[in-house]
Symmetry: none
Subunit: 186 residues, 4 copies
DNA sequence: TATGAATGAGCCTTCATTCAT
DNA sequence: AATGAATGAAGGCTCATTCAT
């Protein structure tokens, strides 16, 4: 049974994250991760039950970081509309940064992959965005009345798609997304 | 050139589509597909040169069918705005109807399968939508000026996501998408 | 049980020989042979029990042709020494002509392959050459006294090696071999 | 770079040599070699990058050892003619002693493995022999003038063949080869 | 008899996971 | 605890051979 030492575990997550950020799941093998950590495969397996779980944990931590950054924005003394825009920027940057995990995010959002077991992150993210959007919607707006998540979902997906299809055009991409948001809310 | 029997080939595409819909490229092996078809691997290889090509063909077929239905709409004597809405409906219905297509579309749109050489169909679809959108944009509009594809891409992706996340709510979904489109174009 | 029709069988051998002459055993598959014959694989299997046997038969026929050509030389009204030189030329040309089978010959001569079951051809060939060489050796010569096959073996092998290592230099190759023979017999 | 444990590696080469000696490249599969070694295929692949390379290494090792022993003879204070005879004896003994080497030598000499990229060792050996033979040839001799390798090639091949076809008759075999050489040079 | 689609064992190679040291 | 060599199940693909038509 793997003994779990806090320090090492964090190291493992960090290393794995670094690798998974740049490469797909299949492109990374346990030896690479062990090498990156400067330990033996066997040792890695003392701290991690298997590759999938490790990946899943990285996935979770990865999202958590994004959540944390969004939470930071919550504390800023800015308007809700500004806050939404901050959210978008945070999401954009995080998604852009983590290539390897981006795929997982997409799959997760679009329910593409059932085996990356729903860890509730998609729901948390959408709900977080939606809460804010709700405040910005006009009374009487259909979306507000039904309080569905469609706008939030669309925003998040659009970020993903823009990062994929127009890489290196952060400015334009964000401008577009914000414009889309604003015209919807107008 | 392998002898191509119409029926079998379509069957193969259908089966592969069904499997690729629920699982990643790497998760599916040729034996699975053969088993699903009730034939031997060797037989499968009489009709398909290799796994990659099969996967690619699944994508192509998916797109092509959608594409064809959109072409039908082009011939109708309706306004451009109506045509766009028809496009949306076609896409929505197609995507909803043919479960198998959905994941393929998502992967293609999001470049999830970038290693699988691009087959240019995604570009065709986006360009088709964009051409129409262009006519509807106001002069001076940034998106029109740059004539980028962002709006088209967003529309298509949104359809996909709505179908996935709000199945069985066709009315609401399409209403939302059209509303989004209209507010953007306003 | 395969029915054997004379005409077809000869055709098969001829076709297979043509292919095996230019390519190694592994490079040729039954489909190729069938295609070359203009029949279906299944049909081919009506006349031939399996690939190995077919190959073996081709091998035998191939040698037999060489033997036949050598036998022709026996009938010529020439000296033994001239006859030996004719033998060398026949062997050289035949070996040169049949690339694919050349390998089999080498293996056979050098006992390299035990699965091409000894069909006695090597022995026949060596013995045939030796009989003639014996007549040319001087009395008192060790080789003659022991009547071993060493000279014949060396000649044959040398032909093979020359064809392999100095392709396209027939003149020089044969000159060398004959010179070697003559100096040995002198 | 796979971790290389001296003992295992030599064992692998020895085993592979033993197998490749009796069977063609295609007839041997990695599982056989692993089984022969008493290890798993995966383990074998820890020491060998792939089948082709393993095969190639078997060849190289075979040749190199023979080569080394010949280099020893070069240092002796003897005449060139004596040196050639020493070469012949070295080759004979080496070939006779190490059963495994024989088939590899034959294949290499006869270019039987031309698809396996040439490793240049055959050329080295022939050239080494030829250099010495050149010194012994009479001026005006055709072979000397053209400085081709035919005599060297023939000598080496003849050694191989004699060992194969007349095992246990070392004396007679070497006598024959030397006699052949001498009559040629006379 | 002829056909050729179907079969499936077999091959090379990879890599997550285990376990003796 | 740490190590990393060993394991062997899989996976993509081929091709000699079979058999239903």
């Amino acid at each position: 049974m793997p003994k779990i030492i806090k320090g090492i575990n964090e190291n493992i997550i960090a290393c794995a994250m670094k690798l998974f950020e740049h490469h797909d799941y299949e492109e990374i093998d346990m030896k690479m991760i062990a090498d990156e950590l400067g330990i033996a495969v066997g040792t890695l397996y003392n701290y991690v039950p298997n590759k999938k779980t490790l990946y899943l944990n990285v996935h979770k931590m990865s999202w958590q970081k994004t959540f944390d950054r969004m939470d930071q924005k919550d504390k800023l003394p800015i308007s809700d509309r500004e806050k939404i825009e901050e959210y978008i920027v945070v999401l954009y940057e995080d998604i852009e940064k983590r290539k390897g995990i981006r795929r997982a995010l997409i799959k997760n959002i679009t329910s593409l992959s059932e085996d990356i077991e729903a860890n509730g992150i998609k729901e948390r993210l959408i709900s977080k965005m939606n809460k804010l959007l709700f405040l910005l919607m006009k009374d009487g707006d259909d979306s507000k009345e039904h309080n569905d998540n469609r706008l939030a979902e669309t925003l998040i997906t659009t970020i993903l798609v823009m990062v994929e299809l127009h890489p290196g055009e952060k400015e334009k991409n964000i401008t577009f997304i914000v414009k889309m948001l604003n015209s919807f809310l107008r």
